[in-house]
Assembly symmetry: C2
Homo-oligomer: 122 residues x 2
Amino acid sequence: MKNFTMQEIISETGLTADTLRYYEKEGMISGIHRKPNGHRVYTNSDLEWLKFAICLRKTGMSVKNIKEYRKLMDEGDKTISIRKEMLKNQREKILEEIEVLKEGINRLDFKLEYYQSIESNL
Amino acid sequence: MKNFTMQEIISETGLTADTLRYYEKEGMISGIHRKPNGHRVYTNSDLEWLKFAICLRKTGMSVKNIKEYRKLMDEGDKTISIRKEMLKNQREKILEEIEVLKEGINRLDFKLEYYQSIESNL
DNA sequence: TATTGACCTAGAGCAGACTCCAACCTTTAA
DNA sequence: TTAAAGGTTGGAGTCTGCTCTAGGTCAATA
């Protein structure tokens, strides 16, 4: 199992060192090992989790919620059904958000057509 | 042309009075008339603009940007091409955001299937 | 040996978008 | 005439999610 340095995680994820440490401080990431000199050592599964967490952030889940989900993961299989609920919930929210965005596109298209018609008449 | 009170605008838009005043203070809404007692009076076109502005907010445009767009509107037809650019730009951003969300859905579905397979084996 | 580079910590600061507060003013209804 | 309803203002406070600063450690290189 490969280990990763801060730099490697930064280039793998696109996060900054500050954000990475912030996420850890907030409990969104946990159980990161250290070298004797105190530097963080990320494992493969840390990276996998991070990527998933980033995906959740991008879909609008709050840091607090992701931390909650992570905590449940750490509690083992008995929390699977709760976690499933959380993800289903998030899935619904994303679908709703997509609808809002599509509605936005429609409105913009309408406006853009209107502008088009004005410009053709100048 | 019908006029609207604060209450009516609140129920038409779903915004709070505070948010409405905040938007005005920030310049996202402008030219709102007043009754002799100082109360705001919103016109039909104020309401129309508000609804459009809210739509822009929902698709992620910042208050600052919407204010900028509004300012251009107030400057008349000569700014139409800039406004068109702004809207096209926003349209692109929304499409990108939709892609991110769809990608998120896919990941969630994958995770959910995994949980499903675990639960079937208990 | 001195400096550079990659980290570390605690804690302060910041931007954005509200949200709340205190004090005040009218108009209407009891 | 007093109270309630429906506003007004300026400014402070809150929450989220970073982002930055200052000062320090350690290992490797010039």
